[in-house]
């Protein structure tokens, strides 16, 4: 048998039909659904008299629109349009009999945090959702990617997707990370290297010692932003950490089925001599804490750098950089650490998990948010929130001056009231620094949770290593 990549293996296990030209029907094991990209798909089913083919494999949760304030049980906290969208999901979940976590359920949260938390996401699966950050689930060695609403309808009706296979790309992070450098820095550094279109046409497998060393939470952060590099999906081969994370989750297999699953899961890795269409290698020890300076996730630099000059780029990027600097209100040559910050946002499907909150809290402990700044933490799910409260992390945030919110997508895309105002500058643990993403004319700098915490304390973009104790710095 010819050697295969992990992607090849998962793909081969899910092809239900293949045409002569390679166009395949890929069977979908888990379909995650949220309120923004699904109403038109359910409407399409109703109009054509179709049903959901596999309701037991379909899981819905409202996350994009939901308010994150403590009083959100009151419907008046939502705009009418948002309320209609959330109510439409309530009704669709009920009418079509799919699994559902409503707003008032403690398990509610961002769909990409809820899926793994509840054990819906398992190694070797195909997972889709009408959301580009579905790539997150690749951390489990699941083939997971975003789809449009027409494809949501297609999966609801047929439990398959019409697909052509992507190419294989290997991204290897060798060696060990230095203290203060996190999964977020890895994934941003990779995009800085490849560009936002570098992964177009590929499925990425992340590997190497620095990836193996990451927790499952860290691996989810890395895969989450595969889409920002243009890839269809990001994958990490499952290992003991993966199995330990999955074991005992509500929807993970039990007993004999667990044993049977493990037997297959242990074969889910890329063979030694598998073919790669593209290989990118970064040295873990050379990755620094990074920030973005522009309006594309590829606009990445180490925190020690200065704002670049547009002329230092090539082709269409020169004009794009000029536009970005104008939008961001920055001047070439300015030190990144001199950029003053108004707001800090910690949360999102990129960095809203318990480990992210722990990392920020470790920096914030005993310190205060700088006067005049706005700082908020939005846990990725109700269960993350509860765990953080139990661990005393919530108290650290509150004592530092952070708002301690309810779970949702929040200011990552600002569909709910959590938005930046015009010109407001934010250090954000989210995934996109696009124009207007966090609010009209809002300015976003993407950072890790630890770097966000550091900026909250000092009021400007800051190298988190300067705030670490000597013990932490050598850890």
């Amino acid at each position: 048998m010819s050697p295969k990549t992990l992607y090849d293996k998962i793909w081969d296990a899910h092809v239900a039909d293949v045409a002569d030209d390679g166009t395949s029907l890929l069977y979908i094991d888990r379909h995650l659904v949220h309120e923004v990209t699904s109403p038109q798909a359910f409407e399409g089913l109703r109009l054509t008299g179709r049903t959901v083919r596999a309701p037991d494999k379909t899981i819905a949760v409202p996350d994009h629109n939901v308010p994150t304030t403590l009083d959100r049980a009151n419907p008046a906290t939502m705009t009418e349009e948002s309320r209609i969208q959330v109510e439409a999901l309530d009704k669709n979940a009920k009418d079509f009999g799919i699994h559902y976590y409503p707003v008032n359920d403690v398990r509610q949260g961002i769909v990409h945090i809820v899926g793994p938390e509840q054990g819906w996401t398992l190694p070797g699966m195909t997972v889709v959702c009408g959301d580009s950050h579905t790539a997150t689930h690749g951390a489990f060695g699941a083939l997971a990617h975003g789809i449009g609403t027409s494809e949501v309808e297609h999966v609801l009706a047929t439990q398959t997707l019409i697909q052509k296979k992507s190419k294989n790309m290997k991204v290897e992070i060798t060696g060990k990370l230095k203290p203060g450098v996190t999964a977020k820095d890895i994934t941003l550094a990779v995009i800085g290297e490849t560009g936002t279109a570098g992964g177009t046409g590929y499925v990425i497998e992340y590997c190497g010692e620095a990836i193996r060393d990451l927790s499952m939470e860290g691996r989810m952060t890395v895969c989450n932003m595969a889409i920002e590099g243009g890839a269809r999906a990001g994958l990490i081969a499952p290992d003991e950490k993966t199995f330990d994370y999955v074991r005992g989750r509500p929807h993970a297999p039990k007993g004999a089925q667990w044993e049977q699953a493990m037997e297959w899961w242990k074969t889910l890795y890329s063979d030694d001599d598998a073919h790669w269409d593209k290989v990118v290698t970064l040295k873990g020890e050379e990755i620094a804490p990074v920030v973005t300076w522009g309006t594309s996730p590829e606009d990445v630099l180490p925190i020690s750098a200065v704002v670049p000059a547009p002329e230092s780029f090539k082709g269409g990027k020169v004009e794009a950089a000029r536009r970005a600097l104008d939008y961001m209100g920055l001047t070439p040559g300015q030190k990144l650490t001199d950029i003053q910050i108004d707001t800090v946002f910690i949360g999102s499907c990129t960095n809203g998990r318990i480990e992210d909150l722990r990392a920020a809290a470790a920096i914030l402990k005993g310190k205060k948010v700088k006067d005049g700044m706005r700082a908020m933490v939005v846990p990725g799910s109700g269960l993350v929130r509860a765990q953080a409260e139990e661990e005393g992390i919530a108290d650290i945030f509150k004592e530092a001056g952070f708002e301690w919110r309810m779970a949702g997508c929040s200011m990552c895309l600002a569909m709910n009231p959590d938005q930046l105002s015009e010109g407001e500058r934010c250090a954000s643990t989210s995934n996109r620094n696009f124009e207007g993403r966090q609010g009209y004319k809002g300015r976003t700098h993407l950072v890790s949770p630890a770097m966000a915490a550091a900026a909250a304390i000092t009021g400007h973009l800051t190298d988190v290593r300067e705030l670490m104790t000597d013990a932490e710095a050598v850890a």
Binding site: L25, V36, Q40, S132, E151, T158, T200, G315
Partner: protein, 201 residues
């Protein structure tokens, strides 16, 4: 879905690279539960000021391009969010074809589901079409999907590649779900085999 027919229309130049779907349709317009009516909000933040007045400099506000049906765009068009509201907004505006050196994967797929044709060409050819588009309302380009050509206003014919299955679906206005439903026996067979091999799924 309407059949994709050969047409001649005004091409608008948008040379900016990395035009993301947040730019094409900002988040506040994602709260709709319909597919229609988004054309007026296409490129909303680039197109209007906060009072709702048109920004005259923006290409689609210029008299020459108000009726554009082709966009000639910079690299990596449609990156970011998976929102199908982006092609819905473009189609509702009247755009049928977008030309670029590369497209983001999800946006590219979404176009075909809505009767739109994204065309990938090498930089040189995109440059020719961009230059042609910059001529204004005389820049009427002809797209012939059957022949797989796009012709500039000067008559220069540029061939392009397109996936055969997708071409077939566009030309015939075929609905994907209907096509897949014809293969339901393959899906049933897969489910049966999969239930035995991976019962935990």
């Amino acid at each position: 879905m309407d059949k994709f027919e050969t047409f001649t229309g005004v091409a608008a130049p948008m040379p900016l690279v990395n035009i993301d779907t947040d730019m094409i349709i900002p988040k506040e317009f994602l709260k709709t539960i319909k597919r229609t009516g988004l054309g007026v909000h296409a490129f909303d933040e680039m197109r209007y000021d906060r009072q709702g007045n048109e920004i005259p400099d923006f290409v689609l506000n210029q008299p020459a391009y108000r009726n554009a049906s082709v966009l000639v765009a910079g690299d990596n068009f449609g990156c970011g969010s998976s929102r199908e509201h982006a092609p819905w907004a473009l189609a509702d505006f009247g755009i049928k074809v977008v030309v670029s050196t590369s497209f983001a994967d999800i946006f590219f797929n979404n176009c075909f589901k809505n009767g739109m044709l994204p065309i990938v060409l090498p930089q040189e050819q995109v440059d020719i079409l961009m230059k042609d588009a910059e001529k204004g309302e005389n820049a009427r380009q002809t797209v012939d999907l059957e022949a797989q050509t796009i012709t500039t206003s000067d008559g220069e014919v540029i061939p392009f590649e397109v996936d055969a299955f997708r071409k077939h679906c566009l030309l015939n206005g075929l609905d994907d779900i209907g096509l897949t439903m014809e293969k339901v026996s393959s899906i049933e067979a897969f489910e049966k085999q999969s239930a035995a091999a991976r019962p935990w799924v």
